[in-house]
């Protein structure tokens, strides 16, 4: 278990944490320049997030400032006379990724954060993912429980609208719980097969 001192989790502040965490995972897989990393992120996260290349460069600079990435000016493959910045992981990158995998995220970006973690997770992260998925499942159940129940009699238009809104919340949370349980099941089945 990695130790998560405040210094080691400082880079996790702000709404872009899932993207920064995913970038660390990608860097550990193989180094790359900003455009390459943006394309790889987009390929992993699909249409869930619109990954802007400029944002990726900005996030890489932030990671470099915190010592979790390092850049080198290298010639472009397509034009050796021109150069671009290629980002590499540092000695601290693996531990930072592990700590991020273990960190419970605040409620709002939790689903996207989990998706980002899944997109770059290593097999050794499986226990952390299972814990995070389980915590998310529970969080969704708690949210569902907070919804006040219908009295069963939508006698007015506002009451009907309230029932429909309530239904939308349940439908959304049900999808989330289904996704979390399905993902846990897939991971467990994989681990069983690879045992």
């Amino acid at each position: 278990m990695a130790s998560a001192s405040p210094e080691k989790t400082r880079w996790m502040r702000g709404p872009s944490t899932p993207l920064r965490g995913a970038l660390l995972g990608l860097l550990l897989e193989r180094p790359g320049h900003g455009g390459d990393l943006a394309n790889r992120l987009a390929a992993r996260l699909g249409e869930t997030w619109r990954v802007d290349t400029n944002d990726v460069y900005r996030l890489l600079e932030q990671l470099e400032k915190t010592g979790l990435a390092v850049s080198r000016d290298e010639p472009k493959r397509t034009n050796l006379r021109r150069t671009h910045l290629v980002y590499y992981p540092t000695d601290q990158t693996p531990e930072a990724l592990t700590i991020w995998m273990e960190t419970l995220l605040p409620r709002e970006p939790v689903r996207l954060g989990l998706q980002a973690k899944l997109s770059v997770a290593r097999q050794e992260d499986a226990p952390r993912l299972l814990i995070a998925l389980r915590a998310y499942e529970r969080e969704c159940l708690v949210l569902a429980q907070l919804v006040s129940p219908t009295d069963g009699e939508a006698r007015s238009w506002p009451a009907l609208c309230m029932d429909c809104t309530r239904d939308a919340v349940y439908a959304q949370l049900q999808i989330e719980v289904d996704w979390a349980t399905r993902t846990r099941q897939r991971i467990n089945e994989f681990l069983e097969r690879s045992d």
Binding site: P127, R134, A135, Q145, P149, Y170
Partner: protein, 248 residues
């Protein structure tokens, strides 16, 4: 205080096409008197197994199920059967069977056969239970076999309530075509449980059917996840204690 129903590390396995499948894996839960618990899960997730274990219809392969402090595995088949006709009522939409020519009130009254009541007393109790679920005295004379799905579900609830159970277990009880009817049924169920301080254990494939419960759980792959969870143990396949604990 002793919980009305408790599961301690309960596991159950089934043979599925020659493969040994864990349907319930080390489930632990307590249900106190008057408490309502909803279990959400997809088809085949293990929720019906959980309910059947709670009702004493099946016994665990490992762990202990206790009702009112008594281990269901230590009871004789006769004791379990009496428990299921008395302190525990089990209701499933698929369990509806009405005899030809039988009125609604007689359908409910005959289900009280083992209570030692005269037919007149049983009919009176049936009428009270039917009234509690919104079936009028004239509606009680309708033919049970000709009821709509919605009316039939109410009558099934009356049949369960007439026994004055301490724990009502419901497995997907309201498969109704109208959402309004379904919402009204669940609101009725919640208020009936409150008035009687009756515990509810309710399972559904629809999370919205479980609204208003005191504890909400999900079940998948035999594993329970609960809003009441204080510590989560994640078990990895093939390893007994390879998981980690996390404060809820």
């Amino acid at each position: 205080m002793t919980p009305l129903l408790s599961f301690l590390n309960v596991s159950k396995r089934h043979l599925d096409g020659g493969r040994d499948r864990v349907v319930l894996d080390h489930a632990t839960l307590d249900i106190d008197a008057g408490m309502s618990v909803g279990v959400y899960g997809a088809r085949g997730s293990g929720k019906s197994t959980l309910l059947r274990l709670a009702a004493g219809i099946t016994l665990p392969d490992a762990g202990t199920v206790r009702f009112d402090g008594r281990d269901t595995a230590s009871m004789t088949a006769g004791e379990r059967s009496r428990l299921l006709r008395g302190a525990i009522a089990f209701m499933s939409a698929e369990d509806w069977r009405a005899n030809p020519g039988e009125s609604v009130v007689d359908h409910v009254a005959t289900s009280l056969g083992s209570e030692g009541l005269t037919m007149r007393q049983a009919r009176q109790r049936a009428l009270r239970a039917l009234d509690a679920v919104g079936v009028s005295a004239s509606g009680a004379q309708d033919l049970a076999a000709s009821l709509s799905v919605t009316a039939r579900t109410r009558v099934m609830l009356a049949r369960a309530l007439a026994r004055e159970p301490r724990l009502l277990i419901l497995d997907e009880p309201a498969l109704m075509p109208s959402l309004g009817d379904r919402d009204r049924f669940y609101a009725l169920l919640r208020s009936a449980a409150r008035e009687r301080n009756m515990s509810l254990l309710l399972a559904s494939e629809e999370m919205s059917a479980l609204q208003g419960v005191g504890v909400l759980m999900s079940i998948a792959d035999g594993e329970l996840c609960s809003t009441e969870e204080r510590g989560t143990v994640v078990r990895l396949p093939g390893r007994r204690q390879a998981g980690a604990e996390q404060s809820g």
